[in-house]
């Protein structure tokens, strides 16, 4: 057992040789991306945020080559992004992972024949979905098209999404995207009952779903006076739609099952109004 015996696996010993030839003074040089230091920068940058990484590309050329690399952006994209994108209605064209990230964060792709749209929350890279009106079950009311209804007190809109599609360990907020037509600022109140519940098995073994349905009273009207307080009012969005929060839920690790979302008319409100439903949006809760 005398003497020294080099016994690294072949690829590793080559790696060693390569590493030995490099010097630590290489930060910021042209061959930056070939240095083992760049592997370290990848490890560090991928633990910051997309916004940080974009900003840090202004540090030096070497930093930019790592900050723009697929190695970093692949970690910001959801691990199942390839699988999800394969369901896209239209081909998704991109040449770098960073490009794909912003394609999904600034826009969206339509999946499953257009019933579902997929995008990313720009700041966190978490997955967002919208169930299109065609994917929702809409009952009662008087239909124009499937998505537009003259809301009677008994309308009932519901939709479902598979929990495993959503980002794990994330609190999601669910919104109804809708419009009320030309009189949208004239309504007061317009209460409705909303529920968001998980139906299935939790990955952490803490139980099977939410049990009793928790109902939130939400409003489909925009709050008209800033002095009014309480209640969940609708908001006008930057696009043409209005949105109102239906509820939130925490998607744990490894949950299997469905999140069921439902919105019902409120007994006691006998007004009828035109409700144009665009869909139900599920997006991560932003900590403020």
């Amino acid at each position: 057992m005398m003497g020294s015996h080099l016994c690294l696996p072949k690829s590793q010993s080559e790696e060693c040789e390569r590493r030995r030839e490099k010097t630590m003074a290489g930060l910021g040089t042209d061959c930056f991306s070939a240095l083992p230091e760049s592997l370290v920068i990848v490890e560090i940058l991928s633990r910051t945020s997309p916004r940080d990484v974009c900003r840090f590309s202004a540090i030096s050329r070497g930093f930019k080559s790592v900050a723009d690399s697929d190695n970093v952006w692949d970690r910001f994209l959801p691990s199942d992004h390839r699988k999800i994108i394969s369901r896209s209605v239209y081909p998704v064209a991109f040449s770098t992972k960073k490009q794909l990230y912003f394609l999904l964060a600034d826009g969206f792709v339509l999946l499953d024949g257009g019933k579902l749209s997929f995008s990313l929350d720009k700041a966190s890279g978490k997955k967002c979905f919208m169930l299109g009106a065609r994917e929702l079950a809409i009952e009662c009311g008087r239909f124009w098209e499937q998505a537009n209804l003259r809301a009677a007190p008994c309308f009932d809109i519901s939709g479902k999404i598979e929990a495993r599609l959503l980002s794990p360990k994330t609190t999601y907020v669910v919104y109804l995207l809708f419009d009320l037509g030309p009189l949208k600022y004239g309504y007061k109140g317009l209460p409705a009952k909303a529920s968001v519940r998980f139906e299935g098995e939790r990955g952490d073994g803490s139980g099977d779903g939410d049990g009793d349905e928790i109902t939130n009273i939400v409003s489909l009207a925009i709050r008209r006076f800033s002095s009014c307080s309480g209640g969940q009012f609708a908001q006008q969005r930057m696009d043409k739609w209005m949105e109102t929060e239906l509820g939130e839920f925490f998607n744990g690790q490894g949950n299997t099952g469905e999140v069921e979302i439902r919105l019902m008319g409120f007994e006691g409100d006998y007004r009828t109004y035109d409700l144009f439903v665009e869909g139900i949006e599920i997006r991560p809760k932003i900590d403020s």
Partner: protein, 161 residues
């Protein structure tokens, strides 16, 4: 730890880039996937394993981490977590950087995670000029080039100098 009982007394020698040798118990070395793969192949006759690029100071730290994690039972996760945060406390950027490099090379996932995360937490939400200082990186952009990079990533500079 039952699986390693029969090999408990086996030791191997690691040699740092600056020539210092470290005698390590096998179950401690197994925290490193690189060393584990070497031991799994027919490499068990190796008596000195050279680790170029990892200096003695860094290797001592790495092995301290490995020993703690190898000796603790899985039920002591809380204790390990506080060991981990204490372990990295007051460590300067150079030492952390060397640790990430070593953990990456030796394939020690847990150490790579905590050391890289510690650096990431230090630079998060900081202006890029400040991060340039922290990493001692020379700005090799012309002013025009830097302006172009900023324009390309305008979203990321909102609220930053």
């Amino acid at each position: 730890m039952a699986s390693s009982i029969e090999n408990n007394n086996e030791k191997l020698t690691l040699k740092s880039s600056d020539g210092e040798e470290f005698l390590v118990e096998k179950h401690v070395a197994l925290q490193s996937t690189l060393l584990q793969n070497m031991l799994d192949s027919d490499c068990s006759s190796a008596d000195v394993i050279p680790l170029p690029k990892i200096d003695a100071r860094t290797l001592a730290l790495v092995l301290g981490y490995c020993k703690k994690h190898a000796d603790a039972s899985s039920s002591k996760q809380g204790e390990l977590n506080s060991f981990d945060s204490e372990f990295l406390k007051d460590m300067d950027m150079g030492a952390l950087f060397n640790l990430v490099l070593a953990a990456n090379f030796m394939e020690i996932k847990g150490l790579l995670d905590i050391a890289a995360q510690k650096i990431a937490d230090t630079i998060k939400d900081k202006p890029h000029q400040e991060v340039r200082e922290i990493f001692h990186v020379e700005n090799d952009y012309t002013p025009e080039e830097e302006a172009a990079v900023r324009e390309e990533n305008r979203w990321a500079f909102e609220g930053f100098p």
